[in-house]
C-alpha cells in the first residue's frame, strides 16, 4: 500500500491527517508486516480519524465494528438468518430432511457482521475495531483468530479465510487493560498529545481563518494546561474547538476577557477551570 514512511506522511497529509513521525512509521510497518495496529491514547487525539484517513488514502472500504459492553458473536462475526431459514423450510415441503438441512446452512442464509464482511471482501478493506476496551473480555477471544490468521471459523460452513488481508486498526482508551494475548498480535502505537509544532500545523489546517499569532498563543496556552494536573486535560479536538470559537468570536489576540469567556470550551470541569484560571492569572471567575 505504501512505499516508504515519507509516502505515508505525504499521503495522509493530503487527506487532512497530519501524522507525527511515530504514527507514520507505525502505519508503514503495520502495512509492511501485515499486522493489526492497536492504537491507544487519550480521547480526542485522532485515533479513529487515523483509520478513516488510511482507508481514504488506500481507496479502501472502511468496515467499522463499534464495541460496547455486551457486544457478542452475533453482532461482531455473523448470524444465521432464522426467519429466512424458516421460510425456506416451509417452502420446500416435499423435500427430504437431508436436502433441507444442507441447504439452510449455506451462505445464502448467513448474515455477515463487520468482522466477516471485512474478511470476505475482495476489494481492499480497512477494518476499524473501535473502542476495544469497552467490549467484554470474552470478545477479545473472538478477535484472536481474526487478528492472527485473518480467518473465521463458522461451525456449519468451515473456515473462511481472507482472500485479501484487511488493514486492521483497533483503538482503545485504556478504560480496561486489554489482554496480553491480544496485545501480542498487534503493533502497538500510543498517540499522545502532539508536539507544539505539529499542533500548530493541525490548527492551521483545520481552522485556516485564524491568524498566525493567535494560533501560536492558542497552542501555547493549551500546552501549558496539559502540563497541569487537571481532571481532564484538553486534547487536540478541544484545541481545534477553541480555535474555531475564537474565530467565531472575532478575537485577533488572546487577552484575559476572551480566555475567561471561552475557557469552558477546552476545560470540562468546574474545578479544572478554577485551577486554570489561577494558573493563567485570570481574575476570579
Amino acid at each position: 500500500m505504501f512505499t516508504s514512511v515519507d509516502d505515508v506522511s505525504a499521503r495522509l497529509a493530503e487527506t487532512g491527517y497530519l501524522a507525527s513521525p511515530a504514527v507514520a512509521t507505525t502505519v508503514f510497518l503495520a502495512d509492511r508486516l501485515g499486522k493489526p495496529l492497536l492504537v491507544e491514547g487519550p480521547a480526542g487525539v485522532g485515533k479513529t480519524e487515523l483509520a478513516k484517513a488510511v482507508a481514504q488514502v488506500a481507496g479502501a472500504r472502511l468496515v467499522r465494528l463499534q464495541c460496547y459492553e455486551g457486544v457478542d458473536e452475533s453482532r461482531a462475526l455473523y448470524e444465521w438468518n432464522h426467519a429466512k431459514q424458516l421460510l425456506r423450510i416451509s417452502a420446500g415441503r416435499d423435500e427430504s430432511w437431508d436436502e433441507t438441512r444442507t441447504d439452510i446452512f449455506s451462505e445464502e442464509f448467513l448474515l455477515p457482521r463487520p468482522l466477516l464482511t471485512a474478511i470476505r471482501g475482495d476489494e481492499p478493506t480497512v477494518l476499524l475495531i473501535d473502542e476495544t476496551d469497552k467490549a467484554d473480555v470474552e470478545m477479545e477471544g473472538l478477535l484472536l483468530e481474526v487478528l492472527s490468521d485473518f480467518q473465521i471459523t463458522v461451525p456449519e460452513l468451515g473456515t473462511v479465510a481472507a482472500t485479501r488481508r484487511p488493514f486492521v486498526v483497533l483503538t482503545s482508551n485504556a478504560g480496561r487493560e486489554l489482554s496480553e494475548a491480544l496485545r501480542r498480535r498487534c503493533l502497538f502505537l500510543h498517540i499522545g498529545f502532539p508536539e507544539e509544532e505539529l499542533e500548530r500545523r493541525i490548527v492551521r489546517l483545520k481552522v485556516p481563518g485564524l491568524g498566525a499569532a493567535l494560533t501560536e498563543s492558542v497552542v501555547r496556552v493549551v500546552g501549558a494546561l496539559r502540563a497541569m494536573d487537571l481532571r481532564k486535560v484538553p486534547s487536540v479536538a478541544e484545541t481545534i474547538d477553541w480555535a474555531r470559537t475564537l474565530l467565531a468570536l472575532g478575537a485577533d489576540t488572546l487577552d484575559e476577557t476572551v480566555v475567561r469567556d471561552s475557557l469552558g470550551v477546552i476545560l470540562k470541569h468546574q474545578d479544572d477551570i478554577q485551577k486554570a484560571a489561577a494558573k493563567l492569572d485570570l481574575d476570579a471567575l
Binding site: 513521525p21 509492511r32 508486516l33 473480555v137 496485545r183 501480542r184 500510543h190
Partner: protein
C-alpha cells in the same frame, strides 16, 4: 549473527531484565521492522522497534534509555572542539530561547564531553551527568533566556507570554534528560552496555521501592492510581464471576430431579447472594512509610465501589479515622498526607510510631468496625521503637474479623532486625512483603475478598 541482530537481541534482553514481557515472535517482528525501515533514520527505527516490542505506554519510559544504549547516536566524543563552560552556556541559552532541539542535543554531547569527565585511570574514570549539570547549572539561565525571547519577539506583552517561564523550565528539563542519556551512552562505551542497561536505567514507577521512591516517582504513582484501580476492578469482577458459579445446591438439585423421575439430570448450582465485603485499613503514616500508606489508601479509595463499606484509620502512636478526609482527597492526592497529619489526632506525647498503643486504641475505640464480614489490612513496617507490640490487641482484632492481612513495605530479610516486631505479628496474622506498586497490585488482586 550479524551485528544488527545482535543489537536487537541485546535490546530485547535488557528490556526483559526490566520486566517488559517480550516473546520470540515479537523479536522476529522487530527484526522485520528494522529490515523494512532501514538503519538510516534513527528516530524511525526507535518508533518501529517500540511498536513491535512494547505493549503499553508505561513501558516507553524504560524503552527509550535502553534504545539509546543499544542504538547510540554516535561513537566517541563530539567532532569539533566543545569549548569551555561559558561558551557552552552561551550557546545553550541561545538554543533554549529558540527552542532548537537539535542544537540542544548537540550541546548535551559537548557539555558531557567538556564538563562531565572524571577520573583518569582506566577502570575508575567515567562520565557523570550529575557533575555536568552541577557545573553547567542550566537552571540559572532562566532569566537570561526569558529576556532573550522577549527581546526577539519585540512585543513581550502577548497573553501567552505569562506562560514563558514554565515553557523555558520544560525546555531546561528536556536538556537535563538529554545530558543524562548522553552520559549513559559515554559510560556504556567504556563499561559495556549490558551492564549499564541493567543498572543505569531507572525502573518504571511500579517497580520502585516505596521506601526509596523520590517525590517525582511518588507523584507518578499517584497518577497511576486510577488506571491501576480500573485494572484491579476488572480482575476482582472476574474472580467474583468465577466464584459465583461453584458448588452444587443439593436441595434444589433433588427437587428438580423429581421431573426426571428422581434422576438428577441437571445439577443446580448454588446461587450466591451478592454480598459486598467490608474493608478496614489501618495505616501507619509516620514519615518512614508514608509514601506506601498514602498510595495504598488512594488505591483502596479508588476501589471503593467494590465494597459495601471501606473505613480507613491512620496512626503514628495515636489512631484516628480518616475515611472522610480520603474521600475528599481524590481531588488533591498530593496534599493528602499533609491534611491527614493536620486534621487527625495521630500523635500523643512524642512523634515516633508506636504500634502497641495505636492497635490497642483501635481495638478499644473502634472495635465495632470489625465484624465477621470485615477484612482488615494493616499497612506498616512494624517498627515499634522498642515499645510493647501489644499482641493481645492484634489477637482480638484477628479473632473478630474475617481475615487480617499485614502488608509490610520492608524486604523480608529485614523483618525482625533492630526494633522490628514483624515476626511476632506475623505469627498472629498473615504478613506479606509489599515493596513496590507492582507487588501491591498483585497482592490486592489476590487477597481482597470478593
Amino acid at each position: 549473527m550479524t551485528a544488527v541482530a545482535e543489537q536487537i537481541t541485546g535490546l530485547v534482553g535488557a528490556l526483559r531484565g526490566h520486566g517488559v514481557r517480550i516473546g520470540t515472535g515479537e523479536t522476529v517482528d522487530a527484526a522485520r521492522a528494522v529490515e523494512a525501515l532501514g538503519l538510516a533514520d534513527r528516530e524511525r527505527l526507535r518508533e518501529g522497534l517500540a511498536a513491535t516490542l512494547l505493549h503499553g505506554p508505561a513501558q516507553r519510559a524504560v524503552f527509550d534509555p535502553v534504545f539509546d544504549l543499544y542504538f547510540p547516536r554516535g561513537v566517541g566524543g563530539p567532532d569539533g572542539e566543545s569549548g569551555d563552560r561559558e561558551a557552552v552556556r552561551d550557546r545553550l541559552a541561545e538554543a533554549l530561547a529558540a527552542d532548537d532541539r537539535a542544537m540542544m542535543a548537540r550541546l548535551a554531547v559537548d557539555a558531557v564531553d567538556a564538563l562531565g569527565g572524571y577520573g583518569s585511570s582506566p577502570g575508575s574514570d567515567g562520565w557523570s551527568a550529575y557533575q555536568t549539570l552541577d557545573r553547567l547549572r542550566p537552571q540559572t539561565l532562566l532569566a537570561r533566556v526569558r529576556t532573550d525571547v522577549r527581546g526577539r519577539d519585540g512585543s513581550g506583552a502577548g497573553f501567552a507570554d505569562r506562560l514563558l517561564d514554565d515553557e523555558i523550565r520544560r525546555r531546561i528539563e528536556e536538556f537535563r534528560r538529554m545530558v543524562g542519556a548522553e552520559a549513559r551512552r559515554r559510560v556504556a562505551e567504556r563499561r559495556g552496555r549490558d551492564e549499564i542497561a541493567r543498572r543505569g536505567v531507572v525502573p518504571t514507577a511500579d517497580r520502585v521501592d516505596f521506601l526509596f521512591a523520590n517525590r517525582d516517582q511518588l507523584a507518578e504513582l499517584r497518577r497511576a492510581v486510577q488506571p491501576l484501580a480500573r485494572k484491579l476492578a476488572t480482575r476482582l469482577a472476574a474472580r467474583r464471576r468465577r466464584a459465583a458459579r461453584g458448588t452444587v445446591d443439593l436441595r434444589r438439585t433433588l427437587r428438580s430431579s423429581l421431573s426426571t423421575g428422581g434422576v438428577p439430570m441437571r445439577p443446580v448450582l448454588r446461587r450466591r447472594r451478592p454480598v459486598r465485603p467490608e474493608l478496614v485499613l489501618l495505616c501507619d503514616v509516620s514519615g518512614s512509610v508514608s509514601g506506601f500508606s498514602d498510595f495504598t489508601m488512594l488505591l483502596v479509595q479508588a476501589l471503593h465501589d467494590q465494597f459495601s463499606k471501606v473505613r480507613v484509620f491512620a496512626f503514628v502512636n495515636r489512631l484516628d479515622e480518616v475515611t472522610g478526609l480520603l474521600h475528599h482527597g481524590r481531588a488533591d492526592p498530593e496534599g493528602l498526607g499533609t491534611r491527614i497529619h493536620a486534621e487527625a489526632t495521630l500523635t500523643g506525647w512524642h512523634g515516633s510510631s508506636d504500634y502497641g498503643v495505636a492497635l490497642g486504641e483501635f481495638a478499644a475505640r473502634y472495635g465495632d468496625a470489625v465484624g465477621p464480614r470485615t477484612t482488615v489490612f494493616v499497612l506498616g513496617d512494624a517498627r515499634t521503637n522498642m515499645s510493647d507490640p501489644n499482641l493481645a490487641a492484634v489477637r482480638e482484632v484477628a479473632g473478630r474479623a474475617r481475615r487480617v492481612y499485614w502488608l509490610n513495605p520492608e524486604p523480608r530479610d529485614r523483618w525482625g532486625t533492630g526494633d522490628s516486631a514483624a515476626p511476632a505479628y506475623a505469627e498472629l496474622v498473615e504478613m506479606h512483603e509489599c515493596r513496590t506498586a507492582r507487588q501491591l497490585s498483585a497482592l490486592i488482586a489476590r487477597l481482597l475478598p470478593v
